[in-house]
């Protein structure tokens, strides 16, 4: 049976994982909501955040926090430039958008694989140390990650609902044509959203590689989880994505603790397929 300590562990690990998933999937759903782009390179931006930060850490000899900030910012730039060069020309063609972003993701995967190898690399902790809660040892790092992800999600929410630019993004996602008629510069909004979306992915990549490990295969894995979460939460709903992230986070850590990691992937994904059959529009989704 599961004792209290294990339950506490599942809850704490579940929120950490859920927080990271929430960052990944809210970025994914944000760009989808605004531009209807299914960005298959989102998982690549996630790992690029971790690997670029590692590169800067090693080459510039700076502290982990500064190199993470530079790394995450550059991921945003890469995504914005990538959008302008590769996605914008085929924006009207749904099939080609998917194919191009998927190919981009696999190129980044191969580049990382060739440069760093297939083994996982961890990013140094921003804060080390352990606290004891209810008799179990918990790394402070995990609590920091939880705080960072909550803070970022709150900032994202404030940006979208309180600032003019954020309101423009919301307006564009609700009715792109009307937004164009109102004189919005849609292209600029898309580039900006792509930047924000990739920054969220890059940040979650850095956080991920502190508790788990950065690994080129995480690109597709994270992408699949982002898909699953946005389907569960409802495509295009940031709120739905965040709720779904924590649901998946808890299921994943729960099954991992009890049955092992192989089972966790299987169970989490099968549950998503079942939910999809019962409620295809997801928890907060609207039918197209």
């Amino acid at each position: 049976m599961i004792d209290l300590g294990t339950t506490l562990l599942i809850i704490l690990y579940g929120v950490t994982l859920g927080g990271i998933y929430a960052l990944i999937s809210s970025g994914f759903t944000l760009i989808f909501g605004v531009s209807r782009i299914l960005n298959f390179a989102h998982g690549a931006f996630f790992m690029l955040g971790a690997y670029l930060s590692i590169i800067f850490l090693r080459s510039l000899h700076i502290d982990p926090l500064s190199s993470a900030i530079i790394g995450i910012f550059i991921v945003g730039i890469v995504a914005a430039v990538g959008y302008k060069l590769l996605i914008s020309p085929v924006l009207e063609n749904k099939t080609m958008t998917i194919i191009i972003t998927l190919a981009l993701a696999l190129i980044i995967e191969q580049l990382i694989l060739l440069s760093f190898g297939e083994f996982g690399i961890s990013y140094p902790s921003l804060i080390s140390g352990v606290v004891s809660i209810g008799g179990i040892a918990i790394q402070i790092q995990r609590i920091v990650i939880l705080i960072i992800s909550m803070l970022t999600l709150t900032l994202l929410w404030m940006f979208i609902s309180k600032t003019r630019l954020g309101k423009e993004i919301t307006a564009a996602s609700q009715d792109p044509e009307a937004a164009i008629l109102m004189g919005f510069n849609i292209e600029r909004l898309f580039i900006l959203t792509m930047f924000i979306s990739a920054v969220l992915a890059g940040l979650s990549g850095v956080l991920w590689s502190q508790v788990y490990a950065a690994n080129p295969f995480q690109i597709l894995n994270a992408l699949i989880y982002a898909f699953s979460i946005v389907i569960l939460g409802g495509l295009g709903s940031v709120k739905g994505s965040i709720v779904a992230s924590f649901i998946i986070g808890f299921i994943y850590t729960g099954v991992t603790t009890i049955y092992g990691a192989h089972m966790a992937d299987l169970v989490a994904l099968i549950i998503i397929i079942i939910i999809l059959i019962i409620r295809p529009t997801g928890l907060f989704g609207v039918e197209e």
Binding site: T95, I99, L106, I277
Partner: protein, 336 residues
């Protein structure tokens, strides 16, 4: 009477005979290593064209075609090595008489088609992106199943089906059998694509609202398309297993999916002929040219491999010729 299949024109029959004649004499002069790759290329073309039936003709992006390929492969492999099913609900298959390979390959196709029907019935009701997202998730689930139930599926390494279950013992024999399989599958798929059903698929892709207002049940036709597409995907996967003599999760995996996408996009979505050309080009390029000569030219310190070259090629083609080479060739032909 409704026309179910198309009636071939004289020029189409001419092209077919020319293709058969050309491919028929290749074994006379080609080295055995090339022959082996060509035989696999034929199967790969079946996979590419079957993907095109769904994606090119209805416009729904199927990113999980490898799931159907893998299902076809694992069904035929397990039916031929039923001892792996011991201690499973399917262990009764061990006591049944062994079916001929030909039948188990067809059963692989049927199993894949049934799964395709199920997935289509669940996801195609919703317009938009759900089909692409769900099919993108599926390969990962199926790869996981091979690892979790490794006593049956053989885990990461897969398992061997034994020499007696190969489609032929010699490379030349394999070559001819996969050529025949290709021609049979292509005739059926080309026939469907040019029949009334194929035209309905195209109508759905081009003007889905207009098609709906004309009383065409879009959902039904998309489910038909995915069933046909997954059937031939399953057949292709099963053939691949009996060609190579082994099965492993790579049949489910993303690199194969990307290779298929690349072949179809380069050839031209929704054309059948395009994916045939694209399939030849890409498979030979990857396994003969890039793996053989080309990679030795790249300096070791440059982080580039054959996959990066192929994926970059895919992006370039998608940007400059999203309608593929076959449509470009046809346009040139018309303008002359």
């Amino acid at each position: 009477m409704k026309r179910i299949l198309w009636k071939p024109t004289m020029s189409e029959i001419g092209y077919l005979i020319a293709f058969l004649g050309l491919m028929g004499i290749v074994p006379v002069f080609a080295p055995s290593a090339l022959l082996y790759i060509l035989g696999l290329t034929f199967i790969f073309i079946i996979l590419s064209v079957s993907w095109d039936i769904m994606v090119g003709y209805t416009g729904e992006v199927n990113l999980g075609h490898t799931v159907f390929i893998g299902i076809g492969g694992y069904i035929t492999a397990l039916l031929n090595v039923p001892t792996r099913l011991v201690d499973t609900p399917f262990s009764f298959i061990m006591s049944l008489p062994k079916l001929p390979i030909f039948i188990t390959i067809i059963l692989g196709g049927i199993g894949a088609a049934l799964f395709g029907l199920l997935i289509g019935a669940v996801t195609l009701r919703l317009k938009g992106w759900y089909f692409a997202l769900v099919t993108a998730i599926l390969p990962l689930i199926f790869i996981k199943t091979t690892l979790v139930f490794s006593s049956v599926f053989g885990g990461e390494e897969g398992f061997s089906i034994g020499l007696e279950n190969l489609i032929a013992r010699t490379t030349v024999g394999k070559y001819y059998i996969s050529l025949i399989a290709l021609v049979v599958c292509l005739l059926i798929m080309y026939g469907i694509a040019n029949s009334k059903i194929g035209l309905t698929f195209k109508a759905i892709r081009e003007e889905s609202e207009l098609a709906e207002s004309l009383g065409i049940d879009i959902f039904k036709y998309k489910v038909i398309a995915i069933s046909i597409s997954s059937f031939f995907g399953g057949i292709g996967g099963a053939l691949m297993v009996h060609y190579r003599g082994t099965i492993s999760p790579d049949l489910y995996d993303i690199p194969l999916m990307l290779l298929i996408i690349l072949a179809v996009v380069i050839g031209g979505l929704g054309t059948v002929i395009g994916p045939i050309l694209g399939g030849f080009l890409i498979y030979i390029l990857k396994y003969w040219i890039l793996k053989g000569y080309f990679m030795t030219l790249i300096p070791y310190w440059l982080p580039i491999n054959d996959d990066i070259i192929l994926y970059s090629l895919l992006i370039v083609i998608a940007l400059i010729a999203p309608h593929g080479l076959w449509n470009k060739i046809k346009k040139l032909y018309v303008s002359i």
